[in-house]
């Protein structure tokens, strides 16, 4: 609660914690004029620990993937990427991931809105249930999806072994990301700001577009990035339902697994490196979009 009191006191909003999604919109109101080199010994230690941690967990393994990809030479790398089966798998994976992320941007924000702004019976239950796709081992999720959308579906549908299966599995595992990134930001927005806008004659739509959306956008963007990256790397939850048919329902992670099974590590790393590049491009694009929207509303 003391923290919350601190938020209204302007000096505390200075870029001590630039990690939070909310502060990048806050940065617009505050000058960013502190020299990058003036680190105190303690913050230097903090930075050191953070970098060490990040290197051990992320940078070194990523470099290992890229080194592995280059080991077999460029010809093996290009051969892997020119394989029509790999291209089909990459196209399916990235296409479905973009589609799912787009759906999540709307549905995730809407669910977060409902959870924060509305009161209804069963709200607490919904709060807990939202996270289940993250808690469930993906292979169990796969079994759930198979019995729900497979041939013995109680819904009377059969989407097994079609690309709809890939879409559904992605949708299932990525549901919580945008909900969970948008929710806390929505909680922080002071109702007074909206009331002020309304008293100045803004319509509901204008309030949403000019007041709420700019503060939500960074959160939506980071949730979308998480959701996209989770989707392109998904394996467990979809293998049972998708049927892994080459050229029609085979995803990139199954391709990678196939290369590994055939002892073709260079080719496996090549496909993985493409996924990494796609993820990077999407993250940067989302960041650019969110900065634009946050600035101009």
């Amino acid at each position: 609660m003391t923290q919350r009191a601190g938020v209204v006191e302007p000096p505390l909003l200075e870029p001590d914690d630039t990690a939070g999604a909310a502060t990048s919109s806050g940065g617009r109101r505050l000058p960013r004029g502190r020299s990058a080199t003036s680190l105190t010994p303690t913050s230097g230690l903090g930075l050191g620990v953070a970098l060490l941690w990040f290197s051990l967990l992320v940078l070194i393994p990523l470099t290992a993937v890229l080194v592995q990809a280059s080991e077999g030479g460029w010809s093996a790398y290009w051969d892997a990427l020119r394989s029509p089966q790999t291209l089909a798998a990459l196209r399916l994976t990235v296409g479905q991931a973009i589609l799912v992320t787009a759906v999540n941007v709307f549905m995730g924000t809407a669910i977060a809105w409902v959870l924060v702004r509305d009161h209804f019976p069963g709200k607490q239950v919904l709060e807990v249930v939202i996270d289940i796709p993250l808690a469930l081992p993906t292979i169990v999720a796969g079994l759930v999806l198979l019995s729900l959308y497979g041939p013995s579906s109680p819904l009377g549908v059969n989407w097994a072994n079609t690309s709809v299966a890939v879409f559904l599995a992605f949708l299932f595992v990525t549901l919580p990301f945008i909900v969970r990134t948008v929710q806390p930001v929505l909680l922080e927005i002071e109702p007074e700001v909206e009331e002020a806008a309304a008293s100045l004659g803004a319509t509901q739509f204008t309030i949403f577009r000019r007041v709420i959306l700019p503060s939500l956008t960074p959160a939506i963007a980071s949730g979308a990035a998480l959701s996209f990256c989770r989707a392109i790397s998904e394996y467990g939850s979809l293998v049972l339902l998708s049927g892994n048919l080459p050229y029609s329902t085979e995803v990139a992670s199954v391709r990678i697994l196939s290369y590994i099974e055939g002892d073709k590590l260079t080719e496996a790393a090549a496909v993985a490196s493409i996924l990494l590049i796609v993820a990077l491009v999407v993250i940067v694009t989302l960041d650019v979009i969110s900065r634009r929207v946050a600035r101009y509303g």
Partner: protein, 348 residues
């Protein structure tokens, strides 16, 4: 700088210090040595594929009653055959390995972990046999009797993915070679396999996933192994299986590593004794040692005569051995199976 801000910086620093200390401590503690085993016991490490776990455990129990097996303690690791083999290459401790495919042992030979002479024994390195079978729904509603019935209208086949599951390759090879065993040419065999792939509804990642997909009803035919079918029926699954007249003999290898404890070799010898083979038989595997007493095997089509010999049972050496087979059928760019999948996948 306000006082509150100073406080925040200080507490942030304290937190970093704590984190750093914890990191250092865990770094030191992590290296603590494991307690050595009790005197008089030997620890053997078994690394294997998941299916024969129960058979292995039963054999280990019997082995413990022999003079060589006295005091042997087991540390076991089970998983997908290819993954397990790669884990051993990457440093997983193993004395005895039991894989589903010869190639998974060959990988260890190439890495210098298993002696090149591992196939010189009377069973050529094989510890258990089985056969490729056709699993159908209870009562066989489609009236399937043989391979030729699989390419009739309405049949939907599920078989594990030959690209991501090495052991799934047995099934594809059986479907191909049976044409030749029945007097067809290589062109006929290719034509059959193309039709076969046109009827494939799903290629799940592993044998177990394929069984799940079949049981869910996504397909009406499952290509599987006799031992898997028997084991599943022993554990209560309700389906029928058909042993085609022409089919492929499945051969699962076992090997002892170069630097293994000598007791591991004694264990391999025991696995290949009649007493050891009996346990494989009970779990639905065909014995590799002639004259192994085959009693009743629950779950088999005819428990009293569980392993009828099909008239045209061929082996991987009839196809030229694994090296030739992997190049001819499964090579990414020139193999027959990727080529057929490209042709059939596009038309789906």
């Amino acid at each position: 700088m306000s006082i509150r801000k100073l406080l925040r910086v200080r507490s942030g620093a304290a937190l970093s210090a704590v984190v750093a200390t914890v990191l250092l401590l865990t770094g030191c503690v992590g290296g603590a040595a494991k307690a050595p085993g009790d005197a008089g016991t030997t620890t053997l490490h078994l690394v294997g594929y998941a299916v024969p776990k129960e058979a292995n455990n039963a054999i280990q129990k019997k082995f413990a009653d022999t003079p060589e097996g006295k005091g042997v303690v087991w540390e076991e690791s089970y998983g997908a055959s290819g993954d397990q083999s790669r884990a051993v290459v990457n440093g997983l401790t193993a004395d005895y390995v039991n894989f589903s495919l010869e190639g998974d042992v060959t990988r260890l030979v190439k890495a210098g972990l298993v002696d090149e002479s591992w196939k010189s024994g009377p069973t050529k390195g094989i510890v258990s046999d089985s056969a490729v079978v056709i699993v159908v729904q209870k009562g066989n509603p489609l009236g399937i009797k043989d391979w030729s019935d699989l390419v009739k209208p309405g049949v939907k086949i599920v078989t594990p993915n030959p690209a991501s599951s090495g052991s799934a390759r047995w099934n594809i090879l059986a479907a191909y070679q049976q044409v030749i065993a029945n007097g067809g040419t290589e062109a006929d065999a290719k034509e059959y396999l193309t039709k076969f792939f046109n009827h494939v509804a799903a290629l799940p990642g592993s044998g177990r996933d394929a069984t799940n997909t079949f049981l869910e009803g996504a397909a009406n035919v499952l290509i599987s192994y006799e031992n898997e079918a028997i084991l599943a029926r022993q554990s209560g699954e309700d389906f029928d299986y058909i042993l085609p007249d022409a089919t492929l003999k499945i051969e699962n290898p076992g090997a002892v590593l170069k630097n293994a404890n000598p007791k591991a070799k004694a264990y391999l010898d025991f696995v290949l004794s009649q007493s050891g083979q009996e346990e494989f038989v009970q779990k639905g595997f065909r014995p590799v040692v002639a004259d192994t007493p085959v009693g009743e095997v629950a779950g088999a089509n005819d428990p009293a005569k569980p392993f009828p010999v099909p008239p045209r049972l061929f082996t991987i050496s009839d196809l030229g051995g694994w090296d030739a087979v992997n190049t001819k059928f499964f090579d990414e760019t020139t193999g027959l199976v990727p080529e057929i999948q490209k042709a059939t996948g596009r038309s789906q």
